[in-house]
């Protein structure tokens, strides 16, 4: 009866199998031709590896489809089950036919490839044996896999996709390197060049996997008298297709979410001066002057801040030197798939300002530690003020003028009273007065809180605002509310908003009075911009800057402009361009070049004021060129 079954399979499938052989041969020829065309430069076995992985799986899949899937879908297996043979024998006969044909096919192309390679490059017989063993084991595994999936009927494509996704997920999320185990370990990139017998782990893994697949196929073919396989062989309805697609899509979604939420590996800078504290790592390359001292100093600052704000940790900080920056420009890099704060600065610049840099650095470190939450507009003023407050010398009840420069900046930036509106639209306020002035205004607000409610109250408020790390998902919308600072102020400082604002303005008024003479000498800027038609599509930007009082501007002033992106966000410093002018003039100046109609540009004027130690600006204005 077995012979009859074999004969039946032969009659039924001889034509299509012959066609398959022709096609595989054709595929092999097409795959090898490019290698042969390049003479001895390339190795055939390298391309043969790709051929086995693609055509091998295709051929095995097709053979199993004909032997199993078509049989069960057409329900012709019912006739076979009517014969005096067990279902197991029937399945085993099919398996035997399929695996024989497949291994014969694979063996033929393998022999052909080895012979050709021996003729081109010459090789030892042992290498041929190694290659044959690898290809044979992998081929047997893939055939068994296709055999068991053939019993899965209409779900086999979905299972294939699911398997691929699962392998990717395992490779990404675990330490298991999928390309080094099982059949992928046997057919890895060293396949064409390795002169050693396959690693036992990979070989036994492949054989074990193949055995499991075969057992699975037998179980599927035998369970419930084969009715499971018969049911699975029916065609998918539209609903099922959609369901499968949704399940696969959901799987991809879940893996994507897990991947996104997975903590990134920290960036590393090997061979650098390193300082560690609890929750802090600072690295400075040895090329930076006084690298170890800088690392130690920075680690001390960050450690103190971490304790003060009760943060669990701050991402690793890397301070890299860049000699062409001036002393007041620093930049933070974007790390790809890694965690950390990577910054570049010129620590040896003649105009280096250590305090200014440290204030900038802790702002960047806190941004990273809070995953950007501290940069939300509702609490941005706190971040700006804190980074300045931390390095200020005034504490507790000391008047604002203890930090004379900061007090001057604050009074300059808030010539009238500060209101809640300033804090609510803080980014706008920042663009009106400039980041250094805005930070000083924010600092004065924190000082007002400290002066009236004490350092502990301020600390509690700051912890709530800057020291809480929220989970990265939609829960943040419920966990945080607009009035978080309100709540912190009331609970931690026992103070209401209005009272705090009133106290803040009181402090500023007092300082304004005491600094009035100095303030009067600091110029304010007014910048007028106009667009002159050059053509239907081109405009020339003209600008004129006036200073009040007129003779207060000493030294060079600049016209700043930046092309704006489509979405209104903060203007990054890297987009700002400057037209520096040697001395104030009354005339109209023009930008070089033209601007297209429809473009968006932000403009302002800036003047360095020695008394303030920073630039004052006329206020950024955003224009849409018409």
């Amino acid at each position: 009866m077995i012979r009859a079954l074999l004969y039946k399979e032969w009659i039924q499938h001889r034509g299509p199998l012959a066609v398959l052989m022709v096609l595989v041969g054709l595929g092999w020829t097409l795959a090898m031709l490019p290698v042969l065309a390049r003479g001895r430069e390339l190795v055939l076995l390298d391309q043969f590896r790709n051929f086995v992985l693609i055509y091998g799986i295709l051929a095995a899949s097709w053979i199993c489809h004909r032997l199993i899937a078509l049989e069960y879908r057409g329900r012709t297996q019912l006739f076979l089950e009517g014969l005096p043979v067990s279902r197991m024998v029937m399945v085993l006969v099919k398996y035997g036919v399929g695996v024989s044909v497949f291994l014969l096919l694979l063996g033929s192309v393998t022999l052909l490839t080895l012979a050709l390679e021996a003729w081109r490059h010459g090789q030892e017989p042992s290498l041929a044996a190694m290659v044959a063993l690898r290809v044979g084991a992998v081929g047997w595994f893939f055939f068994n896999l296709c055999f068991v999936l053939a019993f899965a009927g209409r779900y086999r494509l979905a299972i294939w996709i699911g398997l691929l996704l699962a392998l990717l997920a395992v490779h990404e999320f675990t330490s298991l390197r999928v390309n080094e185990v099982g059949p992928f370990g046997l057919l890895d990139q060293r396949f064409a060049f390795e002169r050693e017998w396959p690693r036992p782990g990979a070989l036994y893994g492949t054989l074990a996997g193949g055995t499991l697949c075969l057992i699975g196929a037998l179980v599927l073919g035998w369970t419930r008298e084969g009715s499971v396989a018969a049911l699975l062989a029916e065609s998918m309805s539209h609903r099922e297709k959609v369901m499968v697609a949704l399940v696969l899509g959901g799987g991809v979604f879940a893996v994507s979410v897990l991947d996104e939420r997975r903590p990134k590996a920290p960036f590393d800078l090997p061979g650098a001066a390193t300082e560690t504290r609890p929750g802090i790592v600072v690295k400075v390359p040895w090329e930076v002057v006084d690298a170890s001292q800088r690392a130690r100093m920075t680690a001390d600052h960050l450690s103190a801040i971490r304790s003060f704000l009760d943060l669990p940790s701050i991402p690793p900080v890397f301070l890299v030197g860049r000699s062409d920056l001036d002393g007041r420009h620093y930049e933070r890099g974007t790390l790809d798939q890694a965690e950390g704060v990577h910054v570049q600065a010129n620590f040896s610049a003649a105009d280096w300002d250590e305090q200014r840099f440290n204030a900038w650095l802790i702002r960047e470190a806190l941004l990273a530690a809070t995953r950007g939450r501290s940069a939300l507009e509702s609490r941005r003023w706190i971040l700006d003020g804190f980074s300045v407050w931390w390095f200020g010398s005034g504490r507790d009840q000391n008047p604002l003028e203890t930090d004379a420069r900061l007090a001057l900046r604050a009074c300059y930036g808030a010539p009238q009273s500060v209101s809640r509106g300033h804090l609510a639209r803080w980014l706008q306020f920042r663009e009106e007065v400039g980041p250094d002035i805005a930070a000083a205004v924010a600092w004065s607000g924190l000082r007002a809180l400290e002066r009236r409610r004490g350092g502990d109250a301020l600390r509690q408020v700051l912890r709530r605002a800057l020291g809480v790390v929220r989970p990265v998902d939609g829960r943040v919308l419920w966990l945080e509310s607009e009035g978080a600072f309100d709540t912190a102020l009331e609970n931690a400082a026992g103070w209401e908003w209005q009272a705090w604002i009133a106290g803040w303005n009181e402090d500023l008024d007092a300082s304004r009075g005491r600094l009035s003479n100095t303030l009067a000498a600091i110029p304010t800027l007014e910048c007028q911009v106009g667009f002159e038609n050059l053509s239907a599509e081109s405009r020339l930007l003209n600008y004129q800057v006036r200073f009040q009082p007129p003779d207060s501007a000493v030294g060079a002033w600049s016209f700043l402009h930046a092309e704006l992106p489509a979405v209104d966000v903060e203007i990054p410093p890297q987009l700002v361009q400057r037209e520096r002018h040697g001395r104030p003039g009354d005339g109209m100046e023009s930008l070089p070049g033209t601007i297209s109609v429809g473009a968006r540009i932000a403009t302002t004027a800036a003047l360095e004021v020695p008394a303030l130690g920073c630039e004052v600006i006329a206020g950024w204005t955003r224009h849409e060129v018409r």
Binding site: D568, R578, E579, G582
Partner: protein
């Protein structure tokens, strides 16, 4: 109001493609769910949605939905045997077709609607006070482009659907054909590259629509739709229509075609995945990238400086001193006021501190604007600019002959007005040792190509400085300017090069060429005497050519000097550009290069000594060897 029959048809179609509706809704909700599960929803403004990568993903989803929906929409009626029932209804095939298209298009449009809606919601949560108006136009533009792309793919899918299982094969082949045409440079193919719609271009807050491209694609899509309509009207008319493609039992030769087609389809799509996959992000995990800074501008009376914005803090000393530099140069060379000289400090020049072109100068961005050396280089390059102006560009036209003059004047002015004594002494030591070796040949100095072939082209700096010093000594400070102007005189012969050119220019300038040359050599001899001991400390190096199977090398025969470093450079031929000289580090006492870099029959090498008290490497003459 839709007629009853149409309404019923539409309802029937909606019922039949309900699974797709669920699919599109499901996938359309995955993106906002992803944000809710893995990001802060109030930090998800439009910036990321407007990026090309995000738009590309949305277009890819539209592609999948459109093709999946299209391939079964029309032919299913025949394959499932319901065509006859439809024909029996009192509605024409055209109405059936319209109903199908309307309903399917509506379902397809759900995805862009969900995409736009979720982007709008998250942007609304993330808005700041900087944004005065909600960017509705941007959102609608993005959604419209997704719809346009979906319409194209849907139409294509409909027209291919009649091929049944071969539809995916033909689709893959169409993609490969389009890729091949684009690689071959056939630009019209770009007009129907639908995926290019995912590449946003903005002008201000306006999403610039590729109008012509959209019109072409709409026309092509309409043609596909018309083809599908025509085919649908004839569906079931021909005997065996679709049977060949739909029947399970087929003649044996069809097995060959079907099996082959299946294999080719799979291989073709895998190939497409690999092709497009290789263009995905190339960044290495753990790499760090920094944004580029924009250039800024500062003007003085005489200069216009272009520099990176991040150097504004250090520009002040350069800006304050710049006009003084130009004044000194103009004071020495004369000349009228002219337009500002543009000075570009944005490029890191690899081999030079500065370069001059007509009215502009480039200084290496590695130079510190505040350094005195930068002023010296600015002065040097300004001299080049002024000389070109004085000679009306003639000096540049005959540069190979006059390079000694150009660099000599610039170096002389640099050392005289801007540099300290030490750089001048270092330069003059090089001149002294060159004279001591009897390597100062006038015919080489007036032909920089010859100088480059035989010795070191950079000898024009130290020797040129001495030459111009001799010229000035003999004929006064204004002599260099007179020589430059002489070249620009209308009566100057146009075809002179080399020595005749020099003689003519000197004569016209009222200078004695032989006299200056005598003064030049006298000065060199004086320097040779002054730096006798130093010259004696510089050994004559001898290089021995060696080779092995893969490498060519030069072994220095002498004991290595105690002061300075021995260097060696190689060139493929005497005509080779100095940019392509190879200067390896030594391995022991031998300098090696890869043989494959020198395929010609000869190779040149030049050994030299680098001393810190010399302005440049002191080279031996080039040696040519036969390989």
């Amino acid at each position: 109001m839709m007629p009853t029959a149409m309404r019923m048809l539409c309802r029937k179609e909606l019922r039949s493609i309900r699974p797709f509706l669920l699919l599109i809704l499901g996938f359309g909700l995955l993106d906002p769910l992803f944000v809710l599960f893995a990001h802060y929803p109030d930090q998800a403004d439009l910036s990321e949605w407007l990026e090309a990568e995000t738009q590309w993903e949305a277009h890819l989803m539209m592609f999948f939905f459109a093709i999946a929906l299209a391939v079964g929409l029309l032919v299913r009626e025949q394959d499932e045997g319901t065509l006859a029932f439809l024909d029996a209804l009192p509605v024409s095939r055209d109405r059936v077709f319209v109903a199908k298209i309307l309903v399917a298009s509506g379902v397809l449009c759900l995805y862009p609607c969900l995409n736009v809606a979720s982007a709008a919601v998250f942007h609304a949560l993330s808005r700041t006070s900087l944004e005065t108006t909600f960017p509705w136009r941007l959102l609608l533009a993005g959604g419209a482009l997704q719809v346009a792309a979906g319409f194209f793919w849907f139409s294509l899918g409909l027209s291919l659907s009649f091929l049944r299982r071969f539809a995916f094969l033909v689709l893959a082949l169409l993609f490969w054909a389009a890729l091949a045409l684009e690689e071959a440079g056939w630009t019209p193919i770009r007009w129907i590259n639908v995926f290019s719609l995912a590449q946003p271009t903005f002008l201000g807050r306006t999403w610039v629509f590729p109008r012509e491209k959209l019109l072409v694609q709409a026309a092509v899509a309409t043609a596909f739709l018309a083809l599908a309509w025509w085919r649908f009207r004839r569906l079931g008319e021909a005997v065996g229509d679709g049977r060949f493609l739909a029947l399970r039992r087929r003649p044996w030769w069809t097995v060959l075609i079907v099996t082959g087609a299946t294999m080719v389809t799979v291989v073709a799509w895998i190939g497409l995945l690999v092709w497009f996959g290789k263009d995905l992000s190339d960044s290495l995990p753990g790499s760090v990238s920094y944004p580029q800074w924009r250039p800024s501008r500062a003007t003085t009376e005489r200069y216009e400086f272009i520099f990176p914005e991040y150097q504004i803090g250090t520009m002040a000393p350069l800006l304050e001193a710049a006009d003084g530099v130009e004044a000194k140069v103009r004071g020495f060379l004369g000349g009228e006021d002219s337009a500002r000289i543009r000075v570009d400090l944005t490029s890191p020049l690899e081999r030079h501190a500065g370069l001059a072109y007509w009215k502009s100068v480039r200084l290496s961005s590695r130079m510190q604007p505040g350094d005195p050396e930068t002023l010296a280089v600015l002065g040097h390059e300004t001299v080049h600019v002024r000389l070109d102006q004085l000679s009306a560009g003639r000096l540049s036209d005959v540069f190979p002959s006059m390079r000694l003059f150009h660099e000599g004047v610039a170096t002389y002015v640099e050392h005289r007005f801007f540099a300290t004594n030490e750089p001048l002494a270092q330069s003059r030591r090089v001149a002294a040792v060159t004279r001591a070796r009897d390597e100062v040949k006038v015919e080489e100095l007036v032909d920089s190509d010859l100088l480059r072939k035989r010795r070191d082209p950079d000898l024009v700096y130290p020797l040129g400085e001495v030459f111009i010093a001799a010229l000035v000594t003999r004929h006064g400070d204004d002599a260099p300017a007179r020589v430059a102007r002489a070249l620009a005189r209308p009566s100057a012969p146009k075809d002179l090069v080399g020595l005749p050119l020099w003689q003519d220019a000197f004569q016209a300038a009222g200078c004695s060429w032989p006299g200056v040359v005598d003064e030049f050599f006298a000065e060199l001899d004086r320097l040779k005497s002054e730096h006798r001991e130093w010259v004696a400390s510089i050994p004559r190096l001898r290089g021995i050519f060696v080779k092995d199977a893969d490498r060519l090398g030069v072994r220095v025969a002498n004991p290595w000097p105690t002061q300075g470093f021995v260097v060696c450079r190689f060139r493929a031929s005497p005509e080779a550009d100095p940019r392509f000289y190879e200067s390896p580090t030594p391995s022991g006492d031998t300098f090696w290069v890869d043989r494959s870099n020198y395929p010609a029959a000869t190779l040149g090498f030049q050994v030299g000594i680098r001393r810190f008290d010399a302005s440049q490497v002191i080279y031996e003459p080039w040696v040519e060897v036969r390989l």
